[in-house]
Symmetry: C2
Subunit: 153 residues, 2 copies
């Protein structure tokens, strides 16, 4: 996991980035969400170096984001399948995508649109208040220490 670069930090953002914060990692997750499963598919779609891809796939498997599943016996070959934990990165990937859409898409507009698979309505990443049951703007969100959290000694 990136040599646990941020291991000294008792922060869930740092811990998440130890698994998905390396260069290319979230683009590999993007490809997996779009249906890629095989090494050569990731390689072709991303234009990434073979050794870098192998390393990142290893980190993602170790972090429980992808699962190696054999698809051929002789020689043994594996596919990479998203786990539930990996699929739960959808809000992360979509939040990045829509931030990129807003600020860097240019006049051609966003390359891809996210939608609700059921009704076809636009799907928006955001922050939701469970009390008010509404979407919050960035300035309406704050964080505070968890009073029951006990840091490790």
């Amino acid at each position: 996991m990136q040599n646990r670069l941020y291991a000294g930090q008792s922060c869930s953002i740092a811990r998440a980035l130890d698994v998905v914060g390396e260069r290319w990692s979230l683009l590999i997750v993007r490809e997996a969400l779009l249906g890629a499963t095989r090494f050569d598919e990731f390689l072709r779609n991303l234009g990434i170096a073979r050794n870098v891809l192998a390393d990142r796939l290893g980190t993602l498997v170790h972090g429980g984001v992808l699962q190696r599943v054999p698809y051929q016996e002789r020689p043994l070959r594996h596919e990479y399948h998203l786990t539930d934990r990996g699929r739960e990165l959808v809000p992360v990937v979509l939040a990045l995508m829509q931030w990129g859409d807003r600020h860097f898409a240019g006049p051609a507009g966003p390359p891809r649109l996210a939608e609700h698979d059921g009704c076809g309505g636009a799907a928006r990443s955001g922050v939701h208040c469970v009390e008010c049951d509404r979407e919050l703007t960035p300035t309406e969100v704050t964080t505070r220490f968890n009073p029951v959290y006990v840091p490790k000694r």
Copy 2:
């Protein structure tokens, strides 16, 4: 911007990662969201190397996430303030944090809790359907090509 590592990709995730995808970048944004503004504050809070911090701050300023604001004339010294674009990273940072909370927090629980600054209700990152007006699970979200998008030649 990370030498525009992903520049060949007409993808908003790749474009976003060109600005905030380097090691430490999103932890610098986290610190800025928590109120840090000065070089030495980021240095102390993150335990990051001085030259790496300078480089990352430069990328974030160049990408419009942070703004350099003078706070002293002789010698000239700057603070780093989040721009609106930077503050719009809240859903990205919170999505990472809550993914980390769910999968890596351990028995001590999450170190920090996000809440609605107005009512104190729990703030959850997620994906919202604007038609159904409800939160979607990861498997309910899909993306498709934008029919009016024209890729650059």
